[in-house]
Symmetry: C2
Subunit: 433 residues, 2 copies
């Protein structure tokens, strides 16, 4: 194997023919494989089976303070569930609220409240004129869908995945936030980021907390979706994240952050609980605003999670079982990509220690073609461009790889198909087709 | 016992002294009773105990179409849950969506979507200038909290509870809706209404469906919270409600209604599922709008409800058990109020055949005092005024009685206290104090 940029046209043609032959053999297999979304596999879901029967009788449904979780009420969540989510969010139970079955909904709703009612006592954003938002890229497509739905102009900023500072390019973030009061917030997946898998370094967290913002009600939407989702149970192989709440308090901007998280990739996606944590003032304001939307979230689901996961130690022990299933899949991704792509010099990808994704960059102008080729060979990838606001990756190079869902033998084949498609798309590009 | 309006001052004084003596004896008992909120009793909650273990194994979690309800997805709800909620909402599964754990949240969110994004393809209501809303009174306090939160001006219209037409006073509703394009909707609890317990008659439903509305995107928020909540299992003793969807289609206004309902007072309040039904166009628009807020609601809770309640017949059989618990409590309310208040001529109240409430009207200017007296004797009632927008009952006469939660022996005492407080407040009023 040789670097493609050292080949002449005839050699490129020969290589393309070889890859197309390989591609046709994949097509002949009638594959139906999916590497598109960050869904846990069946084996992972089975880890949480005891959750199903965690509450089996009326007596089981009584919370520690005597609350019957089968009836109305308790807007902020039962105390033991607030403790559990505080453990997950690295926060205090007093400033942690339990929300419903989805942190995406909690984020959408938090943004909607800022727009309809305002935050921090400032005017509702719907009265502020057009709003803008900072979007580290590549990022999470569903974040971008939320801001797009509300007509917020999204400003991409690079996410740095190499070097001593990992996270949003802070020089640019600081410059934009200081200059424009219409910029009201930023999307962040600070740990094992979606899709790059990097974790923000302490200096980046501190700069986000301390930076000058032209908007006094600027909010960091801190989606700590993968806070405990390590690929190894060995703490020395796990990323550590500086707490944004601590950083904001130290910087004198205590109300700047909204933290979000959920049990979606811990127990059952869509049938778990979400958590929200922020400053005492933001939490009080949020509860007041939410009181017209909600009497109380599902306390049976809350109590089931408490009984099953117990506490931080229980979560860690449970996540070690997830890691045992996920780590071989992530290792396979690295192995296949390195073996089959390293020498061609046509791609780069991340090698995360947790989370659900690997961020892959092919040659400029090849991502859409790669995804199209894969689809036509029966392998569904996340749509090219999805990791950018408006689905528009200007370089057309980024693809999100999600290895969690398929069984490892299917993942193996899907990666072979991916590699073949990356090569074909690169060869077509180099040949000017 | 005599009608109070036939008594002279001295007789009123004597009667007041007698009632105050009785009141002091209640106070001496150190009561702590609650007739404030429409919460099911523990005995009712116990009826749904099998729901807790309805899904006990991974195999149990697979929906009829093969969907693993433990994983992400299925925005509109699993098909069998849509069928169940369609049965509850008297609608078609194709135009029924399953929402989360609360119909209140579903209503708040639907209103928020109208405000932020618009409905029926019309401009978002946030661009329409100030909005107004029709509020039949007495009504449901949490409805009024939702419209108040969004700064919508609420216009009370009387709810007729006697005569041949039951429901909102349609002459006034029609006059207002036709005249003012700022009026965008109306709150309706059409069956066993909160708090009056009346069910809208067919003529009222048809007039709501057919009336001229100055706002082309006028929406009837049809909160059918008590659709199956009869106090008798005998169909001849149950109210029947004309379907608003059918009426709207027949009137040529097919998109005018949003139907809501939930299992909250069927299984476990706050741990059940909510349903939404509307026209095909509204449902499609709603799903499109909701797709940025939500990946999918809790499908395990959906499937548990399907396995436990099964279908319309299963719901009816289950509700008959609720009726057996609730009917004696509602009968006791009628018995106590009739025995102890009929002759004094100082109050009127409704006698519903379903739902959770009795609407009580004392003399003008006595409701707040009555609630205050009851509270000081250890009986918590719904706050006076709660049944009106902004908590402002201009006649200060209406009190919502919620007999479901207390055990019947406690309810018995609570009603004695209520009657005594009603009498004291009336006597004070008649004596000009």
């Amino acid at each position: 194997m040789t670097r493609y940029d050292t080949l002449d046209t005839a050699q490129l043609e020969t290589e393309l023919e070889a890859q197309l032959g390989r591609y046709r053999s994949f097509q002949a297999q009638g594959l139906a494989l999916n590497m598109a979304r960050g869904k846990p596999s069946t084996a992972q879901l089975d880890l949480a089976t005891p959750l199903l029967t965690a509450l089996a009788s009326p007596a089981d449904c009584i919370a520690a303070d005597g609350t019957d979780c089968r009836n109305y009420g308790v807007l902020a969540g039962i105390p033991e569930a607030r403790e559990l989510m505080a453990a997950l969010l690295d926060d205090d139970p007093a400033t942690t609220i339990v929300f419903g079955n989805s942190s995406l909904t909690a984020m959408y709703d938090a943004l909607a409240r800022c727009i309809d009612f305002g935050t921090g006592g400032y005017e509702p954003w719907c009265h502020s004129g057009p709003i803008k938002w900072l979007c580290p890229v590549p990022g999470y497509d569903r974040h971008f869908s939320v801001t797009e739905a509300f007509g917020i102009e999204m400003l991409p900023v690079p996410l740095l995945t190499e070097g001593s500072s990992l996270g949003p390019a802070m020089d640019e973030v600081e410059r934009l936030a200081a200059a424009d009061p219409a910029i009201k917030g930023i999307w962040c997946v600070p740990k094992y980021s979606n899709p790059s898998g990097i974790t923000y370094t302490d200096d980046v967290v501190r700069r986000l907390a301390a930076m000058e913002c032209a908007a006094p009600d600027f909010r960091i939407f801190w989606d700590n979706a993968y806070s405990v989702h390590h690929l190894s149970a060995d703490p020395t192989q796990q990323d550590q994240l500086l707490d944004i709440g601590t950083a904001c308090r130290e910087a004198g901007n205590p109300d700047r952050y909204f933290k979000f998280g959920s049990t979606s990739k811990i127990t059952f996606p869509g049938a778990g609980i979400a958590g929200f944590a922020s400053s005492p003032q933001n939490v009080a304001e949020t509860l007041e605003q939410v009181s017209s939307q909600m009497i109380g979230h599902d306390k049976l689901t809350q109590l089931r999670h408490v009984r099953f996961l117990r506490d931080a130690e229980g979560i860690a022990a449970h996540m070690a079982q997830h890691a045992a299933i996920l780590a071989p899949k992530f290792a396979l991704v690295q192995q296949k990509l390195s073996q089959r792509l390293d020498e061609a010099g046509i791609a780069r990808w991340t090698d995360p220690r947790g989370g659900y994704f690997v961020s892959f960059d092919g040659l400029e102008g090849t991502a859409q073609r790669t995804v199209e080729l894969a689809r036509e060979a029966g392998v569904v990838l996340t749509g090219a461009g999805a990791t950018w606001p408006y689905g528009n990756d200007p370089a057309d190079s980024n693809i999100r790889i999600a290895p969690s869902l398929p069984p490892i033998d299917e993942l193996d084949v899907a990666l072979d198909v991916l590699v073949c498609c990356v090569r074909i798309a690169a060869l077509e590009k180099l040949l000017g087709r």
